[in-house]
Amino acid sequence: MPIGSTLAHPAGIQPGGSRKADPMPDVLETSLTAVPANGGGGSAESRPTVPQAAESPAFRHSRTHRLADRWAHLAFLSCSLLVVGLIGGILFFLASRGLAAFWPVAGNMGRALHLSEVFLSADWAPSSDRFGILPFIAGSLGVTGLALLIAAPAGILTGVFIAKMAPAWMRNLMRQVMDLLVGIPSVVYGIFGLTVVLPLVSHTWLADAPASGFAVSAVILAVMIVPTIVSLSTDAFESLPSSLDEGAQALGSSRWQAIWHVLIPAARPRLLTAAVLGLGRAIGEAMAVQMVIGNNPQWIALMRESTDRAPFLRALFTPAATLTTELVQELPNTAAGSTWNNVLFAMGLLLYLLTMVLILATRRLGRGKEA
């Protein structure tokens, strides 16, 4: 009896008669009988199908369902495209105003400026037609750098503390503290700086009354960006394989040695990412800084002229200005289309481009981690 016929199909289904022998390895060749190649021993006249079970017509998708499915895809896609469009739109509109300072554009009231007299000059006197924004760039970098100098080590150490050392209750407490710190509005940080921190340093040997400036701004900013750094670096440490830590401690290194020599280096790319994102937050912060920094575009000159015994320290407490604070301070007072106004938009454009660079930098850092 041919083995194949034991299955006794009434008729093998033969789709498209051109079917070739199944390509199976030699060993299995003989066993390919589950489907008799010749259609089995049975009668081959009819194509047997299951009599369609009385199908409930209710269990069919209506046309509306199908159309909805298709349109929904489009709707979701267009939401995403809107976000992409926004990125481009912001760039376009800021550029349209910011770059107008440098090209003779219809509607411009003033002359077209030279790039160098804006970006390479520290001379800011808009009413006398001098538009050097170097003081603001330097101010932004100075305040942000100082803030990062405080927030990055503190945030990373807090991250490692939360991820690897703190008991559960402390971990929970720290999470809540960070959640609250990140939720406090910048104007409230500003008012705190203005009414609590500044009076502390005013009328001391650090500053003549009333104090303001880099130092206080940086401290406030540091507290504002610390939650970002803490949360990202906690994630970074938690995502490290626990074998790393255990391995180091099994070799007899102390808790701190394991953290310093093993965990921090291993998490480095993500810690840098955390710092860069913190930097981004700090450099873009406007209101809190504006309320405490003193808003003095001439701060560089003021520092240069000062004949103090402790110039550096006191410099940290002289009124200064940054890109963001100057925007908040002067944008409402300038007429649209004036050179002054255009230069302010150019400062906004600069901030936006900086954001893009920082985000791309975090991408780079992320890729470095994978490699």
Binding site: F59, H61, H65, R66, A68, D69, A72, H73, A75, L77, C79, S80, L82, V83, V84, L86, I87, I90, L94, S96, R97, T158, F161, M165, A166, M170, M174, Q176, V177, M178, L180, L181, G183, P185, S186, V188, G190, I191, L194, T195, V196, S254, W256, Q257, W260, G280, G284, E285, M287, T324, L327, L331, P332, F345, G348, L351, Y352, T355, M356, R363
Partner: protein, 292 residues
């Protein structure tokens, strides 16, 4: 034969370990103390000002004793409006990224855009809103300019939280739905989004908190004046919020009691945000208890 070296932990390494453990604890505790001092100081300054009439009176322009009634209204109104605009967009983009975009260049690029928008300083968004809504559309400083620009701040946050919550939906549940003949849309609407709803809701409350505290955007789009009518639902009038009011009275300085008004406003804001935070925590705990 030379004796094998003895590897013993040096006294100094033990000392450093002790010291650094102490430092880590100290830094962590410092943050707790900073928060307590901060909230304490704000509430203490605002406490004498906080009373019913402060909350329910109209503000004064030159005299002392004004209230913050319209600012409270505007804050809530703008948060609701901006969420109403950003929620559909953010949800849609989040759903697209989690369920449709697949893994590849497109998704990567979308993520990049979302991250960029999320990292864009609010002062930059304010400039954009000022150019487009305030000037080009001719809407001047108004509730609608403010709500639309504020929505830009919310969109990336909602998108991100939607995407993350949807990615956390177990694959088995989606498969079960598809296995029954559900379309993709049905699976998303009936299985994935309900499962992700709590995560999205939590994110939404946090977004609301952020929008509530935002000031830079609103100074340049919704303006620093509040309507004299109350309640004024018109979208075309300026809408000064609590946070803008706090900043404006401080920096403008024409009010004799600017300090008190600012302190009271700050205290109100802190109280609102603390309650929002508590709300999130309670909801979270309730859900966790229910699903356990």
């Amino acid at each position: 034969m030379g004796a094998a070296p003895v590897f013993r932990r040096s006294r100094s390494s033990k000392l450093v370990d002790r010291l650094m453990r102490g430092v880590l604890w100290a830094i962590a505790i410092l943050f707790v103390v900073v928060l307590i001092l901060f909230v304490g100081a704000i509430l203490k300054q605002g406490w004498p000002v906080l009373n019913l009439s402060f909350l329910t009176k109209m503000p004064e322009t030159l005299d002392a004793g004004g209230g913050i009634k319209p600012q409270i209204f505007n804050s809530i109104y703008l948060v609701v409006l901006s969420l109403g605009i950003s929620l559909p967009v953010g949800l849609g983009a989040g759903v697209y990224m989690a369920e449709y975009a697949g893994k590849g260049r497109a998704l990567n690029f979308l993520r990049l855009c979302i991250e960029t928008l999320a990292a864009t300083p609010s002062i930059v968004l304010a400039l954009f809103g000022m150019i487009v809504f305030v000037q080009a559309m001719g809407w001047s400083f108004s509730i609608r300019s403010g709500a639309l620009t504020l929505a830009l701040l919310n969109i990336p946050v909602i998108t991100r939280v939607t995407e993350v919550s949807l990615l956390a939906v177990p694959r088995e549940l989606k498969e079960a739905s598809y296995g029954l003949g559900a379309t993709k849309l049905q699976t998303i609407l009936k299985v994935a989004l309900p499962y992700a709803a709590t995560g999205i809701l939590t994110g939404l409350v946090l977004t609301a908190g952020r929008a509530f505290g935002e000031s830079a955007i609103l100074v340049f789009t919704a303006g620093t004046n509040a309507s004299a009518q109350f309640p004024d639902f018109r979208l075309t009038v300026p809408g000064e919020t609590l946070s803008v009011h706090l900043w404006y009275v401080t920096s403008d300085g024409t009010l004799p009691d600017a300090r008190e008004i600012a302190a009271g406003t700050a205290a109100v804001m802190i109280l609102v945000l603390l309650s929002l935070n508590l709300l999130v925590r309670l909801v979270d705990r309730a859900i966790r208890r229910r699903t356990r």
